[in-house]
Amino acid sequence: MSAPTLDRPAAPDEAALQAQFDATIAADHRIEPRDWMPEAYRKGLVRQIAQHAHSEIIGMQPEGDWLLAAPSLRRKAILLAKVQDEAGHGMYLYSAAETLGADRADLTDKLIERKQKYSSIFNYPTLTYADVGVIGWLVDGAAICNQVPLCRSSYGPYARAMIRVCKEESFHQRQGYELLMTMMRGTDGQRAMVQDAVDRWWWPSLMMFGPPDDDSPNSAQSMAWGVKRHSNDELRQRFVDMTVPQAAVLGVTLPDPELALDPDTGRYRFGAIDWTEFKQVLAGNGPCNDERIARRRAARDDNAWVTEAATAYAGKHA
């Protein structure tokens, strides 16, 4: 006696698959790795998640530069934990990209060959220890504004990675702000150092949200697919509104003479952003682009023997 054969349904056609995908998005349900998805959705996500992962990994460098010069063991332990978190965030994101069929070693190669981008902010140098504080406060603050809505991104693995990242990002911002408060209670020289760091990082932080809405080529489709949830300009405005009162408590001046509360909207108006600088930095002409890529390349190539040794060891004990 033989078991009856199972009735296998015929493979649904592409239009039916597209309709099912659209219905999942419309219902605000999550797309999961083995679901059918339009090729453009997959490619767009790989581009965005890879760029995000690269930013976390390259982002270890500006602050990592201060690990050996931290002013106390306490600050050093904090900074070490933070830089380690950035590595972790990069790994969560590469893991999400791999669920879309990307290969993480290949993504790293593309970063080193400058075929994929990372956030423009990490191409600026960290000149003093106050920069470590300002990066935590402003740069991680801006990242939180960007990332919190991504916890509801339509692609499940990306959204779950973001939840994990956001939980840890709060520590990053608070340690930075606390560092700055400590310096502001110090000497005139320390206060001047904080103000100088704020002056240098404020505008690049605003650029982190990307080009204005009328010049953002990928935004509309991203929003329609629920990959992004808010426009660049909306998130930038939120960040400014959150940050102005924090600057007042800290006792620093944000370097924008046009910054003023709009009594009608309750939101802060701010001056024009220098988009030429943004485009220059993205094009590879920022102060540290070459240095960042060179160090990432060295990390890959100089440490290759470690991965080879581990592979050989695993082979012998298999």
Binding site: E32, R34, R164
Partner: protein, 121 residues
Amino acid sequence: MSDVTAEGGHGAVPTGPEVPVEPKASTARRDWPLYEVFVRGKRGLNHVHVGSLHAPDDEMAVHAARDLYTRRNEGVSIWVVQAADITASSPDEKDPMFAPSGDKVYRHPTFYEIPDNVPHM
């Protein structure tokens, strides 16, 4: 005597099973298998999938999973399994695979009407 090849640009070198082969730096990392990671958050809870990582072997995968997914006491136990060893159902949750449970409403307690004056039920 082994065969000889000049492939790879290092000059003529012997080949054959007895000659140790140095993996190319660019490909070694790709050979590390992908592991899926499951973490038990605390005693009394199930292990839950948290993400994936690459590692050369099972033991290194557990170490890497600890560093990557439990930096803040997020777990008391970790499972790792090679992604290639997981067998999954078809991706579609409307798939006939799950249809048999759809029409068996009598498996749920709310299927049965019990008068309000029956206590503790």
